[in-house]
């Protein structure tokens, strides 16, 4: 059941390029000998895979911010929770190959003199259970948080502030050793996943391809949701929330649904990110991370999904390059990019690309007008 208009031209173009990339990059690693032009060295694969995870995270935020007007400044929390769920599985996978060779307890627990596994670590030795938790834990948090926030009609900056507080509170909680999740250091020293070594190029390729497919899935799911009548109601909520209520729509249910779906997508991104970077620690909950996601989306083009992904890819690539070559300049560049884009490209990079061809404007694009003042 493919709905007409599910994939518009721009999304189609992005997906074609994305599929080309997830085919060509692995081929560039496997077929071309090191040293020849076009060879993709193994160390580059996790880096590129990480970018794709960020792009999926940006898409998840765009779904709530771009379409429903929910500016979440805590989406990093859902990403990190998905990451921790996967990290817990990878820790259990290490088994007795850890420094302390304890077959059940991860190293940090042996070091902290744990006698037995905390209850919430049970089940994570099974891959399928971890995968379920990757979606369930962020989804549940979003559902409970959203249930209270949306029912109480918390909107605008107030909602943004409490989402920020949420991720900050989680960061402080995860820093504590008593959480039983590795404290300050988080979870690391992963060896393999499903028996495949994480340092092998073939595993890296698989993770990279999976990240690309997850991004494609996120974009198509997002298009399905936003292209439906449901999506139009969301746009109605974004543009005139109370009017939508007077038409008989339960605004809080609509918001809750899309917020929960978005959190699950963010969790999925986090779960794919962790095995590629090899570590997850409380730093991922830091408010600055969540704000950076907002910058990706704004820079790429809010309310377009593809734009959000593009924004994340551009910023992440620029960050890698700049922090390697001009480490002091990075934050200034990021700040300047955000300010300049907000002023000169209110519809982001996507808006710029659309502007090149006449009549290319997106249907549900945001109004050109200045953003509404906070309530």
């Amino acid at each position: 059941m493919v709905r007409k208009g599910l994939i518009d031209r721009r999304t189609g173009l992005f997906l074609v390029v994305l599929f080309a990339v997830i085919v060509l990059i692995p081929l560039g690693n496997l077929l071309l000998a090191p040293g020849t032009a076009g060879h993709v060295p193994g160390y580059l694969l996790p880096l590129l895979g990480k970018y794709l995870c960020f792009a999926l995270l940006a898409v998840s935020l765009d779904l709530v911010w771009g379409y429903a007007g929910i500016l979440s400044l805590g989406h990093g929390a859902f990403f990190a929770l998905g990451g921790y769920a996967m990290g817990m599985h990878l820790m259990r996978e290490i088994g007795d190959r850890g420094v302390y060779a304890n077959p059940v307890l991860p190293d940090f627990m042996v070091f902290l003199s744990y006698e037995k596994l905390p209850w919430y670590w049970h089940g994570f030795d099974m891959f399928w259970f971890a995968c379920l938790m990757v979606l369930f834990v962020p989804g549940l948090l979003a559902f409970v948080f959203g249930w209270f926030a949306f029912r109480s009609r918390v909107t605008g900056v107030y909602l943004s502030i409490i989402t920020q507080a949420l991720t900050y509170a989680l960061m402080l909680a995860f820093y504590r050793n008593e959480m039983g999740l590795g404290g300050n250091n988080g979870l690391t020293d992963f060896r393999d996943v499903l028996g495949f070594s994480l340092s092998a190029d073939s595993t890296r390729i698989a993770l990279f391809v999976l990240s690309g497919l997850a991004l494609a899935f996120g974009i198509i799911l997002g298009r399905f949701i936003t292209g439906s009548k449901f999506g139009m109601v969301l746009v109605g909520v974004r543009d005139a929330e109370s009017r939508t209520r007077f038409l008989g729509y339960r605004v809080e249910h609509y918001k809750l649904f899309v917020f929960t779906v978005s959190a699950m997508l963010a969790g999925l991104a986090g779960a794919l990110y962790v095995p590629q970077v090899g570590i997850i620690n409380p730093g991922e909950f830091s408010p600055a991370n969540s704000i950076e996601i907002v910058i990706w989306v704004a820079l790429g083009g809010r309310g377009t999904l593809v734009g959000a992904a593009l924004g994340a890819l551009i910023v992440a690539a620029a960050k890698s390059w700049l922090t390697a070559n001009f480490p002091e300049a990075w934050l200034f560049v990021l700040g300047a990019a955000f300010v300049l884009v907000t002023i000169f490209l209110p519809r982001g990079v996507i808006g710029l690309l659309d502007g090149l061809k006449p009549g290319g404007r997106h249907r549900h694009a945001l109004p050109q007008a200045a953003p509404e003042p906070a309530e």
């Binding site: 439906s228 139009m232 009017r243 008989g248």
Partner: protein, 246 residues
């Protein structure tokens, strides 16, 4: 066919000590067209807020049909019962097309699953066309609602109200920003709609109220000052005092 559609009895509501509604009682019969007039601050908009579930009264009864208590319901519930409201300031969904604006208002399932599975049927398209023709926006169907003129937005709002097929239409200052000709057309439209639906119109424009040719309720300081035909109430010395004495 003279059952009561909406019944307010001794309703009170104050905001920080200011009595916006102070012992208001009002009954609208099924199919009735009623105009409500009153000076600024008389409580007209607060009354609509109470009827549509936006504001909860401090005391008093608000009854829908035979025995539904509206004071316990919120906006979405009231809308689903069949109360449609047009705001004073037109609030159309600016980034959606005129057609989609009407589509969202069409009577039907408001649930999430229905929203995700929804496909536009030929019947709905026809109904959208019908509504747009009534309000004279047939040619603007594909345009973004945000690109319409102020008067056209007013018409679109009225179209959305019709598409909703409510039993009671609450219309707050429909003629604001309209030309004389459009104002008369609006009055005519509302007269046509009444009968099949109950209609409550709030308006300042006396020519418009005269064109509605219906029973008029004058509100002042949150309660009813006078009720009757326009000639009857405009001859009332208290009404003259309220309107001219300020």
């Amino acid at each position: 066919m003279n059952e009561t559609q909406l019944y307010l009895n001794d309703v009170h509501k104050s905001f920080d000590g200011f009595k916006a509604i102070d012992g208001l009682s009002l009954a609208i019969a099924r199919g009735e067209l009623r105009a409500v007039v009153g000076p600024n601050g008389a409580g007209k908009t607060t009354m609509l807020d109470i009827v549509t579930g936006k504001t909860r009264p401090d005391s008093g009864r608000v009854v829908w049909g035979a025995d539904t208590d509206l004071t316990r319901l919120d906006e979405a519930d009231c809308a689903r019962l069949g109360i449609g409201r047009k705001f004073q300031k037109p609030t159309v969904f600016e980034t959606l097309s005129v057609e989609d604006n009407v589509m969202l208002a069409l009577a039907g399932d408001r649930g999430i699953v229905a929203g995700l599975r929804h496909r536009r049927t030929a019947r709905q398209s026809a109904r959208i066309g019908e509504v747009l023709d009534i309000v004279g926006l047939g040619a603007e169907r594909g345009r973004l609602a945000g690109a319409l003129s102020h008067g056209q937005k007013q018409w679109l709002e009225i179209g959305k109200l019709l598409a909703q097929e409510p039993q009671l239409l609450l219309v707050d200052e429909p003629a604001a920003g309209m030309t004389d000709h459009e104002t008369m057309r609006t009055a005519e439209l509302l007269r046509t709609v009444a009968g099949a639906h109950s209609v409550l119109v709030i308006e300042h424009d006396m020519d418009f109220v005269r064109a509605l040719d219906c029973k008029v309720t004058v509100l002042n300081r949150g309660s009813v000052l006078a009720e009757g035909s326009l000639d009857h109430v405009s001859a009332n010395p208290e009404v003259i005092e309220v309107y001219l004495g300020r």
